[in-house]
């Protein structure tokens, strides 16, 4: 049996360049305003009087890190359970796919996904999402997002191998807890990473990254 595939994201290496976003956009010919992959920049910080010169301000508790996210091809996909037409199916290798012929475009999957991974294509009236470049996977190649990553922060492979090498962490702030859908994702945390659900920061550009 084919081992389920998933992502490893090295948040300590991701610099938020969005090359993965652009590669995905190019591979899937996505129009402006619609992406399967997003990079969420998360951070916080404040200004305090400079200890050496109180007339000046100095940054305090400043941190920021980036998380490149797309469909997590979850072990328990909420989108698949929500889909009323059974258009969303999971392959033996874990890839969650949408059968366009069955999709009614009701968008319920979009609401059920905690990662905002599904998007509606108004030109076809159907839902769309990352398919982990299934055509490339079937040809033994690497998905474009991982292949294009300039810092090698993104990696696709069998989940058991990724977990054996990188651990079990599957969520950081601002992502939701992995308990909801058991995402096929393992994260190497940034040094300033904050735990999911208990982060003090905010997404720095929600209009762009969380639309």
């Amino acid at each position: 049996m084919t081992a389920p595939l998933g992502f490893h994201l090295d948040a300590s290496a991701c610099i938020g360049c969005r090359t993965c976003v652009t590669a995905c956009k190019s591979k899937n010919a996505l129009p402006a305003g619609r992406d399967y992959r997003r990079v969420v920049e998360y951070g916080d910080g404040s200004w305090i009087p400079d200890p050496e010169d109180p007339t000046l301000l100095a940054p305090s508790n400043l941190f920021a890190y980036c998380l490149s996210i797309a469909c997590m091809h979850c072990e328990d996909p909420a989108c698949m359970a929500a889909c009323p037409t059974e258009a969303i199916q999971q392959r033996p290798d874990g890839i969650v796919l949408i059968d366009s012929a069955r999709c009614a475009g009701c968008r319920y999957c979009e609401w059920a996904c905690p990662y905002g991974a599904l998007s509606f294509d108004p030109s076809t009236g159907r839902m769309t999402k990352c398919d982990l470049c299934a055509d490339l996977i079937d040809a033994g190649q690497e998905p474009w997002c991982a292949a294009s990553c300039v810092t090698r922060a993104l990696e696709v492979g069998p989940m058991d191998e990724l977990r054996a090498r990188h651990g079990e962490l599957d969520a950081l702030a601002p992502l939701p807890s992995g308990d909801q859908t058991r995402p096929r994702l393992v994260i190497t945390p940034h040094r300033d990473a904050q735990p999911a659900g208990r982060g003090s920061g905010d997404a720095s550009n929600p209009e762009r990254d969380l639309r």
Partner: protein, 357 residues
């Protein structure tokens, strides 16, 4: 904040809830006890002739049929009853506008095992099918009874018992339809109570949907009842305490009961809206504060307008001061409360669909 983002769903959910609420209101009015005479106040799904209907809800249809309701169901088998089915059918048609690919609409029944959306569509179809069965059953019976319009109406031996040609079947269908409607509203709320949308995932979402159902149903039913004067009640039939209290202002007992219900539900809806986490989130935004305030103000104003005819019933002096005709007050309240529910549902979708992180 784009209030029109999900307008087909706004209209679909409100129309479904109005249809279910109207059916429940008609059924509740039909279950009101009539004192001493041993019959029912209203003919839904009971056995009272509209001409003797102290609720006033049967006046229209009984007048149309010459004062007799020969098959044993009263006036709420008329326009409001028809309206329930029309609304539900219209709501299902509206739901197609939400779909990106309406041609695949029938496939939405495919995942009943897991998808609450599939279950919602099934529940809506069951509701409509039960209503249609009831409707055509009544029409068939009415048609069968029509050739003999001089037949005396069968007596009703005890409260709630059936009379006329097999009204018991109709009663069962009416209650089954009500049950399907309650399930439908519950399932509809459950769709939005998903962990991925924390602003929706709260028991107050379900409470709000049920309160909207009761509010819209009660007010629309009350508007139907209140737009005509209360018919005279023959002295020998007796009248319920509600009927006696309402009599001076021309407000029928059913109308008074519906108005009292609507006022109570409107106040409960205000409380539920204020306590809902989504309201707090919307109100925190610069654009949201005035919209939330408007939503609550419309609810309060609508409830106040409904209190006026109720107060006029309780204090006859107010009737002579111009507050006696309930119709305009109820219609005005319907507009305010309907507007509030429309705005509330728009805010529900505008705020709840956002990615939560």
């Amino acid at each position: 904040m784009n209030l029109l983002h999900e307008w087909p769903l706004v209209l679909f959910t409100l129309t479904v809830q109005l249809a279910v609420g109207l059916h429940l209101a008609l059924l509740a009015v039909g279950a009101l006890p009539r004192a001493r005479s041993g019959a029912l106040v209203a003919g839904f799904p009971g056995s009272l002739s509209g001409a003797q209907d102290p609720s006033g809800v049967g006046a229209e249809d009984s007048a149309r049929s010459g004062g007799q309701d020969s098959f044993g169901v009263g006036g709420l088998r008329g326009r409001p009853f028809l309206l329930v089915g029309v609304l539900m059918a219209g709501a299902l048609a509206l739901s197609l506008l939400h779909l990106g690919t309406p041609l695949n609409a029938l496939r939405t029944l495919a995942n009943l095992d897991e998808s609450w959306l599939s279950r919602e569509i099934l529940a809506a179809l069951v509701f409509l099918a039960l209503w249609a069965l009831d409707f055509f059953w009544v029409r068939r019976r009415r048609g069968a009874a029509a050739p003999e319009p001089s037949d005396p109406e069968p007596s009703d031996p005890e409260p709630g018992s059936s009379s006329g040609p097999a009204p018991g079947v109709s009663r069962v269908l009416a209650w089954a339809t009500a049950l399907a409607g309650i399930v439908l509203v519950g399932v509809m709320a459950r769709i939005y109570m998903v962990p991925a949308r924390p602003l929706w995932d709260h028991w107050l979402t379900a409470a709000g949907f049920f309160l909207t159902t009761l509010l819209l149903g009660a007010v629309v039913a009350a508007a139907h009842v209140a737009r005509r004067p209360r018919p005279e009640i023959p002295a020998q039939t007796g009248a319920s305490p509600i009927g006696q209290a309402a009599s001076p202002a021309g407000l029928s007992p059913a109308g008074a009961a519906l108005l009292a219900l609507a006022v109570t539900v409107a106040l409960a809806q205000m409380a539920a809206t204020l306590a809902h986490p989504l309201t707090l989130e919307v109100a925190a935004g610069a654009q949201g504060t005035p919209l939330v305030a408007l939503r609550l103000l419309l609810l309060l104003a609508g409830a106040f307008l409904l209190v006026i005819p109720l107060a006029a019933s309780a204090f006859p002096g107010l009737s002579s001061a111009g507050a006696g005709r309930p119709g305009p007050w109820v219609v005005a309240a319907l507009l305010l409360l309907g507007g509030s529910e429309l705005l509330g549902r728009m805010l529900f979708y505008a705020a709840g669909t956002a990615i939560p992180f």
